[in-house]
Point group: D3
């Protein structure tokens, strides 16, 4: 259960801002499917609009390839313990071509980072001057 | 200051396990420089050996390119708030070819993930059945 | 499922310390309802007593208004990924008058903080001397 | 030290996008002071512009009072362990009228949330149906 | 639902590396039961092997007693909000002799650490020179 | 720098509540040294009193030995990225007899937990019914 109602299509039609975002999600992704995240955010139309607009720009074409962006997203979502986000962005990574070998290697890097993060913090290692920008 | 002493080269020479790892770090990276993380870990030689051996394997050639692995590493390190790790792996990403444009785009994806993670968690959005593996 | 049994009213009656806390929760909140958090904590009566006593004092009348306190609580709970706490304190915020507009604005501030937190950490921005107390 | 250079005013003048944001920060806040966060973000002008524009909107007048927004910000920043953010937003809270009594009470709520978050998670307390939206 | 399939025994038999790990888990623990974590990791046999081999060594006999190791594990898992890990390692702690009194005291220490962590961070307390190693 | 002033002994004498806590810290620990955490908390005497009183009780004699409690404390502090807390409780663990071997083994368990936490979360492993309390 969510802490807000999930807006169904019928209610989206009643709010121009929500309808505009739902239409753009469908057009951008080439599917009629709107996942629950956007239906929950639609409880607050200005937040829905701001979040979708920014996401569309950030995850669109740029200097990093689309799969790399999804892997960064899954990494952050895992560290933050966001179950929904792990599910949705792992599915997105697969849709963007992630192979089982790449998934396994991603998990290995993730687990490696988690453990050396904890060691560097527990040991309070001072930053080497060589790393200065 | 660290919570353990940072082992200088002179002390490393006195412990065969530490010396072996330090030699391998130098050979693998093609530099004489040993950063503080390994000098701190050297306070416990078995942990040093296990961590370096695993890291060398995980971050070596594989199904993901080296820069992607470093970006995943920086993403996790940021979410965990590990200052040392952010510095060392941002430097590593630059050494592996990260351009300022890629850095900026990485930061945008990272910040996007952080905000949608918090929204999905605050809204307690239920996972869509469509995301099931 | 919880990692400890949830203590039902019948068992609470058998332990004076638990019964005292359950009675006080009911009287303080003006309802017969005891939520699962307290029924789980009742597995350890001293911890139940210490936690309830402190919570009652901290969340009672003071220098901050009750809704502000609940919003701080939901913010921390979200950052920590505590599903139970997000649910219970979002419900509490509504009970204390949170409007949908305030909820939406709260979510926007939360998401904003998450993203600038990650940017400040990834950029390792040095603290400005002007912020010193 | 930051992982990117902090852009001084002289360099900001050379980039129209950066100069526009710096000018707007100064005008909005009524001070000539630009804190380091923005000077670091200026390494990537599009990210600087997007972040400032959104922050200005989110933290501006709305359904929640300015001090409440800053307290939510400090709460999230503390849970995320962002030292820079804790400093800058504690200073902002003071500038918006936070009294020592309010600061002490904020800290008490924050610490309370942290402890009950951990207890609910360690006990894996199931969400009460009564909390459903 | 997991983001990868959980490998049943029939499929494990078809992969020598997975079968070897599953056999070793059964022999080491003296039970036929293989919990879901290993069945999920089996989707990537090299990661399964590396993780099990390291876990077996780290959690085996050493300078800390087995129960202490499990309590450290539950503490980290709680702070990271890992529901699966809290369940599995709380069960393991009980199997290794944790009494209800010890569980209650563990929870009290955990909650205490969470609250003073947040206070030290929110107050940005400078490290005392006396704590230097 | 802290976000509040650190209260020196001269100012503590002027506030009966602060003086009482400082006296009790000195008597309980058998040393004249008051570390910065308490001098920062003294900015809010009621919070200082509540925190010290609870800490003294929780960390005192009980069902878990003193060193185990400190290790749990360092584990949580590391996961939360609290630099001050890692320093102060690693020092406390040493004062309570932690050997270098125990420290190394603690770090290995900590790093192990961090990595399996991330794997269980990234894989979204369902909890085995066998773990139900």
């Amino acid at each position: 259960m969510a802490t807000v109602p999930l807006i169904p299509d019928a209610d989206a039609e009643a709010d121009a801002a929500v309808q505009t975002v739902f239409d753009d999600i469908r057009q951008t992704r080439g599917t009629d499917f709107i996942n629950n995240f956007w239906r929950a955010l639609a409880a607050d139309p200005p937040l829905l609009t701001a979040t979708w607009t920014r996401l569309k720009g950030v995850m669109g074409p740029g200097a990093l390839d689309p799969l790399t962006k999804e892997l960064i997203y899954v990494a952050v979502s895992t560290a933050n313990g966001c179950s929904y986000c792990v599910h949705s962005h792992t599915a997105a990574a697969r849709a963007k071509g992630m192979t089982p070998q790449q998934h396994g290697e991603f998990l290995a890097v993730l687990a490696m980072a988690m453990q050396t993060n904890s060691l560097a913090t527990a040991l309070q290692v001072p930053v080497d001057p060589a790393f200065e920008a």
